[in-house]
């Protein structure tokens, strides 16, 4: 009993899992994290997770991309090596637009996604910190840190009441290191 590190409530239905979260919250039991095979809409509000700020990052990267390419073209085409094409002005802004547009998109996409990977600690070769292998298949999992949250029996019962198909008392935090 005392060796239990994490209590996992395994649900086979997202609605039951939401009920499980309610049950735990009513009893002021902090939830460590929730692992699901698909995004659950409305769970952020329930869990009090703030809106993602990735949109701001995306906007900044977009501005950066536009600035970089516009300055590059300006330097090359207007400053460093102006070309005389039929006497037309070398600072031909309409011609700059497609490039500026493409790099705005390019920087936004890569900047934002890399920020996402960095913030979420996703990168190739990262050891997956998985608490239960079925969390990516058909189980919706609520993880409760066992330390300090006693008695464990009550937590088990709360999860069972909400419709958990199984409650696990894991002695290891992650099962995927084996």
């Amino acid at each position: 009993m005392s060796n239990t590190k994490f209590i996992l409530g395994l649900f086979d239905d997202p609605d039951d899992m939401m009920k499980g979260i309610d049950n735990l919250q009513k009893n002021s039991i902090p939830i460590y994290d929730v692992y699901t095979p698909m995004p659950i809409h409305g769970i952020e509000d329930k869990m009090g997770v703030k809106d993602s700020r990735l949109g701001y990052a995306a906007f900044c990267f977009g501005c950066l991309g536009a600035t970089v390419i516009f300055s590059m073209i300006y330097y090359m085409l207007v400053h460093d090596w102006p070309m005389n094409v039929g006497g037309k002005p070398s600072f031909a802004i309409p011609n700059f637009i497609p490039f500026t547009f493409e790099w705005t998109i390019l920087f936004t996409a890569f900047g934002m996604t890399i920020t996402f990977f960095a913030a979420t600690h996703l990168f190739p070769g990262r050891a997956p910190r998985v608490m239960d292998l079925r969390a990516t298949d058909d189980r919706f999992i609520i993880a409760v840190n066992a330390k300090g949250n006693v008695p464990h029996e009550d937590i088990t019962n709360l999860l069972k009441q909400a419709g958990a198909v199984e409650v696990k008392h894991n002695e290891r935090k992650y099962v995927s290191y084996e």
Partner: protein
């Protein structure tokens, strides 16, 4: 989504079946044929690189022919994937969830094929870096930022890399599903590929934000790409190319051909992989409606071009269009007209657009028609321009033909490998549909009497065309 007693576990099992098991006979036959095609491509592209562009049938007058035709054809095909994954996501069209993955994969492979044409037609592909704005010892003489071809370099490379990013980010949760079910070496490989995905709350929240923003920026991107491809022609002074209608006309054509290719691929894939419950008649019919719409837009564009040629009173422009329809390339023009404008109109018939065999047949016709469209635009405009003394005909060599046929082989080889090693349907996104827009959820609502009987009758009637539904189940409800 159709099927009885589908659970979350069953969705994973169904979709991962082709990934976790040995391929069936149909796959092996397809793979053998397409890798033979890819080998033909290797041979013909190597000859082109070794001996130069003289291997192709180009002459002084017709300097662009099959190669640019193939390039525009492939880029156009690529567009449907982004359209399905990005535009339909923004419009909250849930039915895209089961087809977006394979359509995006198609985009990536099609753009790879398109890029090979660009590199090949440079003649000296090892100097491809000349298209990049790198400091050099000629001055520095920079690239020409006024050129539409330069815009193309930026558009295609951005399009390819952003599509790849969008596709791979979407794959992460599904690769994690494979990883957690696999053992041994497979687990290690998929573990690296999955970037350590866990599916925690914060990960999903950020993932959805990223998907939505990527979709939002991919939508104008995909429209810009074919617009810029059309600039390659529209900014020239060539009669038949020098038209302002090109950008929207090319974009509509791209979506048209892209959906046809999605149809060609998916109608076969769903049968071979047994995904009838996920890619249903609803998808097939919806895509056929899009083919009908974009086919009609393309038809209007063809007629507008003709009208404007007459209305402009420019004799060169008028000659170019009369020559297209009645000159030595009349057969290409009329193949294009009948494949792209006339035959999609058959989809006004509900019977035809819900027939799987006919849809597949017509998708091939559209693919052929769209190839002819690019051929007509490129070759018939070039072969007779302002000076009659330079008029000539274009005759492809066997290398021209092999590069084209070979690229189709290359495309299918990549696609077949993809469906073997990665999930061809977005598992997580399909799971979202289980309790909302699946047939079994709807049936439950009907059985419990929540719906208006008139609507139920209409619903049952529309189900009869689905090949994955047994109507006997609906007799009692």
């Amino acid at each position: 989504m159709t099927g009885k007693d589908i659970t979350y576990a069953q969705i994973t099992n169904d979709i991962l079946f082709p990934v976790e098991n040995k391929p069936n006979k149909a796959w092996w036959i397809g793979f053998t044929v397409s890798s033979l095609g890819a080998m033909l491509w290797v041979v013909s592209i190597s000859l082109t690189f070794w001996f130069g562009l003289g291997e192709w049938g180009l002459n002084k007058t017709v300097g662009w022919a099959w190669d640019i035709t193939g390039f525009v054809w492939w880029v156009g095909i690529g567009h449907a994937g982004t359209l399905i994954s990005a535009v339909l996501l923004i419009f909250r069209q849930n039915w895209r969830n089961s087809i977006n993955r394979s359509a995006e994969a198609m985009t990536i492979f099609a753009v790879i094929c398109a890029a090979t044409y660009i590199v090949a037609h440079m003649g000296r592909p090892w100097l491809a870096y000349f298209t990049l704005p790198l400091p050099n010892q000629y001055g520095s003489l920079w690239v020409n930022w006024n050129s539409a071809l330069m815009m193309d370099v930026f558009a295609i490379s951005t399009y390819f890399s952003v599509s790849l990013l969008f596709w791979y980010t979407g794959l992460l949760p599904d690769i994690a599903s494979i990883r957690d079910r696999a053992t041994g070496l497979r687990r290690r490989i998929y573990s690296i590929l999955s970037f350590g995905w866990t599916g925690s709350l914060k990960t999903w929240q950020r993932f959805e934000t990223v998907s939505l923003i990527l979709a939002g920026i991919s939508t104008p991107l995909v429209l810009s790409v074919h617009t810029i491809v059309s600039f390659d022609f529209a900014t020239s002074l060539e009669p038949g190319w020098h038209t302002t209608i090109f950008p929207p006309y090319f974009v509509a054509g791209a979506i048209f051909s892209g959906f046809a290719m999605v149809q060609t691929l998916l109608l076969v894939t769903r049968k071979v992989l047994g995904l009838e419950n996920y890619i249903t008649m609803f998808h097939i019919e919806s895509m056929n409606k899009i083919i009908l719409l974009t086919g009609s837009i393309v038809g209007v564009a063809y007629i507008t071009e003709f009208f404007i040629a007459w209305y402009s009173q420019v004799e060169y422009e008028q000659y170019a269009f009369i020559n297209r329809a009645t000159g030595p390339y009349w057969w290409a023009y009329w193949s294009m007209m009948s494949c792209n404008v006339i035959s999609p109109q058959l989809f006004w018939s509900k019977k035809l657009r819900t027939s799987i065999k006919f849809s597949w047949f017509l998708s091939i016709i559209v693919n052929i028609g769209m190839w002819f469209e690019r051929f007509v635009i490129i070759v018939t405009s070039l072969h007779r321009d302002y000076i009659p003394s330079s008029w000539a005909m274009f005759y492809p060599t066997w290398v021209d033909v092999s590069v084209f046929i070979g690229s189709i082989g290359l495309f299918f080889t990549m696609f077949l490998l993809f469906i073997r090693v990665l999930p061809s349907v977005a598992i997580a996104e399909v799971k979202l549909l289980l309790k909302t827009s699946s047939e079994q959820a709807k049936k439950k609502l009907i059985e419990e009497g929540h719906l208006d009987p008139v609507e139920v009758e209409y619903y049952k009637e529309s189900l009869t065309k689905y090949d994955s539904i047994d109507m006997a189940d609906y007799e009692k409800v």
